[in-house]
């Protein structure tokens, strides 16, 4: 191993992955009801294809992709469509969703389908198959995977980067996928390299997952240039830009995409999902989710049907401990608090973390004392102290001049701020405001 593979700055929150790192993935039984929002991905929501009363089998398409940057939605269980209407979405809003009453006695066998051989397909055909299967990035951003597979003609991609960093505390979703299904990850890499026409793939895994690194090294293909690299354990190592920097030393210029510097990044779970599409023909209807935290009785790694409600998942994991105070969807650094236990697991849900008063205790906010800790933490080299002062003064145009657009909302500044100033929260609001101003101007 050569030079330290990492990026500058970042933070070291307590990992707490020991709760579930060694717990094998189990399949959760089907709940009584499944709720599938039409918006589970970045881009345009899907259009519903079913009516209340319709009977669906597991794997049936029930929502159609609306345009290229969109993916279809599939039934994750056999059952009957009960209603199409507004339902609590894990992002905190109400969103249009298809409710399906699960057929309790169904064998859950999908309809027979033709499984195309990936090798014989042109890149265009693979892209279509991936879109048809509703595959999105499973690392949390839920960007439709097929969009990344079609670089424009003037862009030359030379490296596939496989994201197995999983830098969020508590989460062990990708860890278990890499450890238990390394062949599937490798198969996904093979399909992806074929489609992109790249000669080189690098899998980046934080060094706190030695069993995952070992499993992947043990299944490396002989005929392809695929390497596994251990990465420094540091948040946000799993962010696309940080990962690319650590593995290739390249930086994405402002306003550009990773493909403009010759790189495509895919999460390990997304690759395993693509492999499954070409193994079984099944679309993305279930995923591995880490359900964990000090506020949960039985921390677990589960295969959960997409659309299962938080309530049912928590119940299967022994329920909440008495001291539970906060339920976070995703990792605790980036995830969102859930107000409603009826919100469903969606394609982008990497985990559910139940925190207690110890972690979620409200803390007093003090004025900025210019300690500079946020500058030392910011992985994209901004001045969060200055941005925070500008935000509090309502000087939003000046924030844009201070490179607010570069901020990835990773939360490192808020994490270290001794004055407990909600920096990344203010930046998220300011970014949304900047977006609105831009739209109004256009």
């Amino acid at each position: 191993m050569h030079a330290r593979l990492s990026f500058r700055h970042g933070v070291h929150p307590p990992e707490h992955k020991e709760l579930t790192a060694g717990v094998p993935v189990r399949r959760m039984p089907y709940p009584e009801e499944i709720v599938l929002p039409l918006r589970q991905h970045t881009g345009k929501p899907a259009r519903p294809l079913v009516e209340p009363g319709d009977r669906v089998e597991r794997g049936d398409k029930i929502g159609e992709a609306d345009g290229f940057v969109s993916v279809p939605i599939h039934a994750s269980s056999a059952g009957t469509v009960k209603e199409i209407g507004l339902w609590p979405h894990p992002d905190g809003s109400m969103a249009e969703a298809i409710r399906i009453t699960v057929d309790t006695f169904s064998p859950q066998i999908p309809r027979p389908r033709i499984i195309p051989h990936w090798d014989g397909l042109t890149p265009d055909q693979v892209v279509k198959a991936v879109q048809r299967a509703g595959v999105v990035g499973l690392g949390g951003a839920a960007f439709p995977t097929h969009v990344k597979l079609l670089p424009p003609d003037d862009v030359a991609v030379d490296t596939l980067i496989v994201n197995g960093a999983e830098c969020e505390p508590y989460l062990t979703t990708d860890h278990r996928v890499m450890t238990e299904y390394p062949e599937r990850v490798q198969f996904g890499i093979r399909i992806m390299m074929h489609t992109l026409g790249v000669q080189r793939a690098i899998i980046g895994v934080e060094k706190n997952k030695p069993d995952a690194i070992e499993a992947l090294r043990g299944t490396l293909p002989d005929d392809l240039d695929v390497a596994v690299q251990g990465l420094t354990v540091k948040y946000p190592q799993g962010y696309e830009k940080m990962l690319i920097h650590a593995l290739t030393g390249r930086d994405v210029p402002p306003g550009k995409l990773p493909m403009h510097i010759g790189v495509v990044v895919q999460n390990v779970a997304s690759l395993a999902c693509i492999a499954e599409v070409f193994e079984t023909g099944l679309p993305l209807i279930e995923r591995v989710v880490t359900v964990t935290g000090p506020g949960l009785r039985k921390p677990s790694n589960l295969i959960v049907p997409v659309g299962a409600k938080i309530r049912d998942v928590l119940e299967f994991c022994g329920g909440l401990a008495d001291e539970a105070t906060e339920i976070v969807f995703g990792g605790p650094m980036m995830g969102g608090s859930q107000p409603d236990l009826d919100a469903p697991i969606i394609k982008s849900t990497t985990g559910i973390v139940v925190l207690t008063r110890k972690e979620s205790r409200p803390r007093r906010t003090y004025p900025c004392i210019k300690c500079g800790h946020c500058l030392d933490a910011c992985p994209v080299f901004l001045n969060p102290s200055l941005l925070g002062i500008l935000a509090q003064a309502g000087r939003f145009e000046e924030m844009e001049e201070a490179d607010l657009a570069t901020c990835m909302l990773c939360g490192c500044c808020s994490y270290v701020c001794p004055s407990n100033i909600p920096l990344s929260q203010m930046f998220a609001l300011a970014k949304a405001g900047a977006q609105r101003r831009k739209q109004q101007a256009a």
Binding site: K241, V252, E326, I369, G372, D376
Partner: protein, 346 residues
């Protein structure tokens, strides 16, 4: 930033991410600074007797009561007023009247901090501003250095003098090492300087001890180590250069480092987070500026000591230093990998 949502009996908190928080808070930092100075206060008491505790206590009382009277509700808890008083007390002569120390603390908090808007808003280090005020208002009291006494418990001056009265005690005075250097070109044994067994302000004499206490804060990341390192390096280099040119006229680097208030200033005054640069590059520049000014004032200025004015002058430049040393954001042309590095080859 916290709301709750009720789901049956369950009360769920709603907070913005990140949901985890590093343990250090602003009061933790401030009270650690206070705690780290306890050994320095003990040393001052060892060298200067009960006068030390009285003077430091009066300065703290002035600062804390002013914060209490005019500051925001509950702002005493953040510990910053206590630091101001404590640091001011450590820079005062042992024999100064208690009411003068009290006024210094009150001025430092009132005019050094609260008029700017309280914690985080001030431009100048409040303790040093308090001291600068006392230096201007009471020049004689601020430069009267009592000689060592044989009895530890004996007061080192008329600490209990009423305001605006002439001292009733004829104190035996002694020149400080810097005074000796300035006006008689006599150096003091460096070892006595490091230990602190010399005349001078209460908490400024025990250089080695202050280095250890400040080192603790640096290790805990409660102060930016680049500032004291930059100040002390600059002073050592600049005074070393002068000493090499003419060792009869100029002080040796070791003398320059451990005399006067340099170590306390470098470790505790210049590192005040609010009044020092927010960038690390700025910290180096800030420290170098202080180091150069200290030697300039000590060597060619009218005063024997220049640490206070050096830091205050550089405090005024902090906004400019910050602006000149903004970090270069990720992905911008200025961050291109340097040729020859791993990053450029990749």
């Amino acid at each position: 930033m916290s709301e709750t949502s009720h789901v049956g009996d369950l009360q769920l908190q709603l907070r913005a991410s990140p949901h985890l928080k590093a343990p250090d808070s602003t009061p933790t930092i401030m009270w650690n600074v206070v705690g780290s100075l306890v050994p320095v206060v003990a040393a001052a008491t060892w060298f200067f007797g009960p006068s030390a505790l009285l003077v430091i206590g009066a300065a703290i009382a002035g600062a804390v009561l002013t914060e209490r009277a005019f500051g925001q509700a509950g702002s005493l808890g953040d510990g910053s007023a206590a630091i101001t008083g404590l640091l001011l007390g450590l820079t005062l002569p042992p024999g100064v009247s208690l009411w003068i120390a009290f006024v210094g603390g009150a001025f430092g908090i009132g005019f050094g901090k609260l008029v700017f808007g309280g914690l985080g808003q001030n431009v100048f280090n409040p303790a040093l501003l308090g001291r600068a005020f006392l230096q201007a208002a009471f020049p004689a009291a601020m430069t009267t250095w009592p000689a060592a006494t044989t009895e530890w418990a004996q007061l080192r001056g008329d600490n209990f003098a009423f305001p605006f009265t002439t001292s009733s005690v004829d104190a035996v005075t002694e020149a400080t090492p810097l005074g000796l250097m300035k006006f008689e070109s006599t150096s003091t044994d460096p070892w006595s300087l490091m230990i602190g067994a010399t005349g001078g302000s209460l908490g400024e004499t025990a250089g080695l001890l202050i280095l250890v206490c400040g080192g603790y804060l640096a290790v805990r990341n409660y102060l930016n180590w680049r500032i004291p390192v930059s100040i002390l390096l600059t002073v050592a280099l600049f005074s070393g250069l002068l000493f090499a040119l003419d060792s009869t006229r100029f002080a040796s680097p070791l003398f320059a480092l451990f005399s006067g208030g340099l170590i306390l200033g470098a470790m505790y005054m210049a590192t005040d987070m609010v009044t020092s640069p927010v960038t690390n590059a700025g910290a180096w520049i800030f420290g170098a500026g202080i180091g150069i000014l200290v030697i300039l004032i000590r060597t060619w200025g009218g005063l024997p000591e220049g640490v206070m004015y050096a830091i205050l002058l550089m405090n005024a430049l902090v906004p400019f230093i910050n602006r000149a040393t903004q970090p270069t954001p990720y992905g911008s042309p200025g961050r291109a990998p340097k040729p020859g590095t791993r990053e450029a080859e990749a």
